[in-house]
């Protein structure tokens, strides 16, 4: 399982660069990004706030320098919900690495976020 996930990462990196296109980018961390994440929220709701805080914590801990995160407020841009097939809010979409993943919820369940994003914890990795 771990091995499969890591090989997938390598394969998709190249193809992802090809498919790169203008995207909502606010929290661009660095040019070399392994992870392209978009968080869809609904205004200034408690859940939205919690979700944003949670993903920042996890990403900074495990994906430092390897990710970019954009946030879309569906109240501001309702058409995005259709474009990105969003039903539940908040939803974190992992566009890269492929395959596309959607994490639904305020991301308070850290383990599930890790699984959903295919992040291999540092402690175990080392």
């Amino acid at each position: 399982m771990k091995r499969a996930a890591s090989t997938k990462k390598k394969v998709t990196r190249a193809s992802a660069r090809k498919a790169a296109s203008p995207r909502p980018q606010r929290n661009r961390a660095s040019a070399a990004t392994d992870y392209d994440l978009v968080l869809f929220i609904s205004g200034a709701s408690e859940r939205s706030r919690v979700a944003l805080a949670n993903i920042k914590v996890i990403a900074n801990e495990h994906l430092k320098g390897r990710y970019r995160l954009s946030v879309v407020d569906l109240y501001q841009q309702p058409q995005r919900a259709r474009e990105h097939e969003i039903i539940a809010v908040p939803t974190l979409v992992r566009r890269l690495p492929a395959p596309l993943r959607r994490l639904v919820g305020d991301l308070s369940d850290g383990d599930r976020v890790m699984i959903g994003l295919d992040i291999v914890p540092k402690s175990r990795n080392g």
Binding site: N54, P78, R82, I87, R102, G105, S108
Partner: protein
Amino acid sequence: MTRQPRLLTAEALAKCPTGIRGLDQVTDGGLPRNRSTLVCGGPGAGKTLLGLEFLARGARDFREAGVFVSFEERPEDLAKNAVSLGFDLGRLARSKRLVVEHIALDRNQLLEAGEYDLEGLFIRLEAAIASVGAKRVVLDTIEALFGALTNQGILRAELNRLFSWLKDKGVTTVITAERGQGALTRHGLEEYVSDCVLMLDQRVDDQIATRRLRIVKYRGSTHGTNEYPFLIDRSGFLVLPITDVSLDYASPKQFVSSGVAKLDEMLGGKGYFQASTVMVSGTAGTGKTSLAAHFVDGGCRRGDRCLYFAFEESPAQIMRNMRSVGIHLQKWVDRGLLTFHAMRPTSVGMETHISLMLKQLQDFRPHVVVLDPISSFEAAGTPLDAHAMLIRVIDLLKARGITTLFTSLTSGEVASEQAGSGVSSLIDAWILLRNLEQGGERTRSLYVLKARGMRHSNQIREFLLTDRGADLQDIYIGPEGILVGSARADQEMRDRASAVASRRDIEQKKEVLERKHKAFQARIAELEAAYAAEAHDLKGAITQEEGRLKIGLTGRTTLAADRQRTDRTSTGTSGRARR
């Protein structure tokens, strides 16, 4: 106490007509407006099509735009399905009257990590409704959420919120749901939608499928409680409120000819009552179809539209066969007065048969209907089914004032009076055709077993199928009993011969009489002549005699006077002279 609820129901009764044929009738006006209706049913029951038609008709016929939220089918597939019902989703979409919102839920892409709500769904719905100003929404099927998301607590809370949100939005919503085991829906959606629940069902009895619709509940409204069969055809849904059997149809006084003049005579001179139900029963080859064809032919001659349901023969076959007895049906078909509808009783279920018939009735609006034969339905289902179906068919036809003729095949062994799926009590006129065997030949015979409300002949007639159509002959009843066929012809010949003989006898006697009369006259004349001659002679003799007598007397007197004069005086009498 009672006033308040009444006010409430009056408010709740606002309805949103679906435009779906028959559905508004059984729901007494449509679905509850600005509320949600749950449509549940098994796979392939027609839930999605119902939703599609609700929106398409709303957009087309009621100028109410709609949003179709599809959780399963892709818009292209939906458009294809809609075309099969005769609706062009693309055109409706271009004219901003219908929008399809496809919500793809890929379970493999979804992972739950914490608390969430379905605000995304709400936002999309809101946008879609706003884009066309929708008044109608279909969610097909929202249960897909249960497959994609696992947090039941959140889901249920959000569904609750969704339905009240839709109500606030002022849209009439149809929610489809898969039927569950022991419950209306698999995920208990009926708990959220409490205003109206429709159940679609496709049942297979004896390998024959029938679609049915039932209104499980409809708060604050009257509605039919039965299962209504429905069809999905090229023009969409057709719900048939045919289980509402009533007996309050008018009974017309007009007559409809049976197509056979002599049969009309037997039925009191005018034929069948209009809107009555006539059954022609008999064993094989007794001429049932011919009699039916005559009825149709007669109807077309009057200019009536006739509908012929053929359950055993193809229209071409019937027309060919009827040509051989001089009934030409093709011309009526060409003129559009006659329509054949051939179907196998076993091809579809009883309900579907009725549905198809009703559709035909609605499309063609016939005056005269023939079902040939009804006995084949007994083979298709249980006798009870066939009976129930016939009752409903008879009702349908009567209610429309259609004069109907059933034929019923009876087997030779069964008493023919028992024939006809036990529907005899529903039949107004019953004509029985029988084969009589006598003198080594078979002869068709006909009699009127019953004819309600008319004085009908109780005689058996010989039923002849000539190349110029059917004819009825009186049966010879002689000292040896009933004579038919050749025996009757023979007897008739004998009768004719003896009649001729007696006529000849009479002539002869008349001649004799004449002769006698003449002879008598001659003799009278002769006698008269003889008499006249004799009388003449006698008269002559008498005159002569008298003359002679007179002369004699005078002479003698003269002589005497002369003598007196000479004897005594010149004036003496004869007496004295004689003395």
